[in-house]
């Protein structure tokens, strides 16, 4: 299969401009003749739906929640990067580009990343104009802070609720278009299949989550902005409803899934407290700006934090990485936390936690300053744990947080299925093997506000699409497939709940395909997962029926897809015999224990083609070339 990234060549700062100029346009009067489906209403989907509607396209927009405002982008806390250089501290578009390529451990396309850094400037302007209440200086100018993995202050923020405020901006723009009648909104509707006609994406099959009715929606193009797949692990910082069903079923229709093993572990989450745990809560990594990470020097030290004298504390990040200290990238911080816990130096009841201590910052800056910066995060911590982080250090541990992998897209954000676009976390572009802090919001909004609305015209203007209606064989076939899955899940009438299977799958993935991986563990997982999947289909217990609101049924369909995706993730991790970014293979590390890349053999995007459940998927490679940022061993020493 030829994989044409359509990545422009020439001077990198000119590529996006030239490319845009070469794209075909759709006459404003013709835009109203086209219908675009947008699935997902997070930063990517919401901003895309609003912007496409502003341009004059008819948009049909779908989300599984009760309102487009609930999408999980809302939970992002820390901030959004932009290379404004408002602080005159040496930032530039080129530096943001450089940091992102390097931070991604040289597994992303340079052209895409440079475009992202360029567009970062427009995003801030757009969001300010929408009324996003970013933090301000007393002068009224925008405030910035530095954020994990960066040495400049380029992060814009709205308290600890930046994602919420950016999402509300996009949501309000979307509602504005809904009010104008330019967008038709379908809340509580879940996409369960992609309709492909003559090789082109032409619609989706959805299930109305209130009535259970299976419906088909036809359009000229389909855009997926359905987020990441971190909930494969059961416990993650994702919202409970986050799922991979939309992208996975598109994958089963032919869309390539790229770099599925690139998952990000967030270093600062509240540790697990018991078997009933339903999700993990992230504490923004902005906390690492002022908090110091440490564990006791000695193993099994059961004293409380305040009883441990300074000389017996190990500030392990500051010790090992003097120039970045507590601000090393997420993968480095996470692995080091795991390492000290594996050594038996972890804290708390489970021993699976490290301290994040604000004592020194409170002494230096005073409690009011800390409260202003992190007040809501401290409150959240206290609410969950019942402990006061102003007087005792927080306990934190890494958790699954973000997935860099996703459906393969070209420079236009189109997948290998013509007419199927994939934006935001759902695609694989821009972050390589590791995402820097405050870059997810940037990518979601860049894709939705600025990239897709420019590139989608080209496809519509240059493609002749036949009329398709609900009676088309491809539509009927997709509907029948969806109905069959529902019927099969309800018919199993087994002994175990959906959640019990999901938990078990999550444990396998966390043990064998989590923070660090090895060939033996991955092979074990590849034996266990299909067996568990088969048991699931035989033995799952879903009560109720399909023609009503049925939350167990919704979950069952999602977990069924997680099983298949989990297998692909393990296979991808096993095939990639190197360590890079969030993918740490224990066999491949430097003598200092850092990730050891193998650029000669693995400098490519691994793009998997579905070949049937239980069959080995076919690997296609998109080679990566680096004209500007030359691959080096990442060092944050």
């Amino acid at each position: 299969m030829p994989l044409d990234s359509k990545s422009p060549t020439g001077p990198i700062e000119m590529r996006w401009d030239r490319h845009r100029f070469n794209l075909k346009l759709v006459n404003p009067a013709n835009k109203r003749k086209y219908t675009i489906i947008v699935v997902g209403t997070g930063l990517a989907g919401g901003s895309a739906a609003a912007t496409l509607a502003e341009l004059g396209y008819n948009v049909k927009c779908f989300c599984f929640q009760d309102s487009p405002r609930r999408a999980h982008s809302i939970a992002a806390q820390g901030g959004i990067n932009a290379a404004k250089n408002y602080h005159n501290d040496g930032d530039s578009v080129y530096r943001l580009f450089y940091d992102t390529v390097k931070g991604g451990d040289f597994r992303a396309r340079e052209s895409n990343v440079y475009r992202l850094a360029q567009i970062s400037l427009n995003i801030i302007d757009q969001c300010v104009a929408q009324g996003v209440p970013f933090a301000r200086e007393y002068s009224g100018y925008l405030d910035n802070r530095s954020f994990g993995g960066a040495q400049v202050s380029r992060t814009f923020y709205a308290r600890g609720q930046t994602g919420q405020q950016l999402l509300l901006g996009a949501y309000q723009a979307l509602e504005h278009q809904i009010g104008r009648g330019q967008v038709e909104m379908f809340p509580r509707s879940e996409m369960l299949d992609l309709i492909v006609v003559d090789g082109r994406a032409r619609g989706i099959v959805t299930r109305n989550l209130i009535t259970g009715q299976v419906e088909s929606h036809i359009a000229d193009t389909v855009v997926l902005g359905t987020g990441g797949y971190g909930n494969v692990y059961y416990l993650s910082t994702n919202a409970k409803g986050c799922n991979a069903t939309a992208i996975w079923r598109a994958h089963k229709r032919g869309a390539l899934f790229a770099n599925p093993c690139f998952t990000q572990i967030h270093p600062t989450c509240i540790p697990v407290s018991g078997e009933y745990q339903s999700k993990l809560t992230l504490m923004s990594e902005s906390l690492r700006n002022d908090g110091r990470v440490w564990v006791p020097l000695g193993k099994g030290d059961k004293r409380t934090a305040s009883q441990i004298p300074e000389a017996e504390r190990d500030y392990f990040l500051e010790r090992k990485y003097p120039s970045f200290g507590n601000l090393v990238p997420r993968d480095v911080a996470s692995r080091n936390a795991k390492q000290v816990c594996d050594e038996g130096r972890g804290v708390g009841e489970s021993g699976l936690a490290v301290y994040l201590d604000f004592r020194d910052a409170i002494q230096r800056l005073g409690k009011p300053v800390i409260k202003e910066r992190y007040g809501n995060l401290f409150d959240m911590y206290e609410r969950i744990t019942g402990e006061d982080p102003y007087s005792a250090p927080m306990r934190i541990y890494p958790a699954i947080h973000y997935t860099m992998g996703g459906l393969w897209v070209d420079y236009n954000l189109m997948s290998n299925i013509p007419g199927l676009y994939v934006i935001g976390e759902a695609n694989f572009s821009d972050h390589g093997a590791n995402r820097l802090g405050a870059s997810a919001l940037m990518q979601g909004l860049a894709d939705g506000y600025f990239v897709l609305p420019n590139t989608i015209n080209d496809y519509l203007a240059s493609t002749k699409l036949d009329k398709v209606d609900g009676s088309h064989a491809a539509v009927r076939e997709a509907e029948a497939g969806v109905a069959a899955i529902t019927k099969r899940l309800l018919a199993a009438k087994g002994t175990r709940s959906v959640d019990s299977y999901h938990r078990e799958l999550g444990k396998i993935m966390w043990e064998d395909c989590g923070m660090s991986r090895n060939a033996q563990g991955l092979q074990q997982a590849l034996a266990k997962i299909p067996a568990l999947r088969e048991q699931f289909w035989r033995d799952v217990k879903v009560l109720g029926d399909g023609e009503e609101l049925n939350q167990s049924l919704e979950k069952a369909g999602r977990v069924a897809d997680f099983f298949e995706l989990a297998e692909l993730m393990c296979l991808d991790a096993l095939e990639r015999n190197e360590s890079c970014g969030g993918h740490f293979r224990e066999e491949y590390q430097t003598p200092e224990g850092e990730a050891q890349r193998d650029d000669d053999r693995y400098s490519y995007g691994a793009c998997w083609e579905f070949r049937g459940v239980g069959n080995r998927p076919e690997l296609h490679k998109e080679p990566l070339t680096f004209d500007y940022v030359h691959p080096t061993q990442r060092s944050y020493k």
Partner: protein, 248 residues
Amino acid sequence: MRIILHIWRQRNANDKGRMVRYEVPNVSEHMSFLEMLDVLNEDLISKNDDPVAFDHDCREGICGMCGCMVNGVAHGPLPGTTLCQLHMRHFKDGDELYLEPWRARAFPVVRDLIVDRTSFDRLIAAGGFISVATGSAPDGNAVLVPKEKAELSMDAAACIGCGACVAMCPNASASLFMGAKVAHLGLLPQGQPERDRRIVAMATQANRELFGSCTNIGECEAVCPKEIKLEVIARMNRDFLHASLIGR
């Protein structure tokens, strides 16, 4: 600890609905309220009983999807806390809790504890936005916003749209929700051009949705998980008066 629950069970919008008693025997103090409901549901499934349907998503207090009445109080007894962030350490062994969905004509029950809050979306669609087409914005620092104004605007913008304010209000008024949006946008220079039009459009829509009127009772402020202040309603009323008398 052992918790006794009386939960509103209603199969769909047309079903009459009733309270049903359940017992959850081994509740840990570290569980969140929703995790306790998860445990109940697992138990119900094992007994071939339909699990309780309830809305939830982020479980970190920001998406606004969860919420129900706990002993007559929206989101339960802890101030400034969504149901998902309420932990069982705030209850004691043998407590009896009555769980009911939000009750308001503008929020019809969908199933059990789930209600339809799309009326909130229609309020925003009526006027809760700043009309700015993508790409037309000036540089972010071209618009200066005094820090105090930005902070007050952020206080109001923190609203998560959960609907607790409506559920708790004896009039089922959406004034706190609307006031929060009117204050968020109206406190910023960017929100000025549409300020009059916004409040008139939103208030008109609120009447259509059958939300009640505000009579300054203040139950909404008391249960708001984001502690939005009643001041936003005063501000909204001022805007409404201005728009009705002077604005066009």
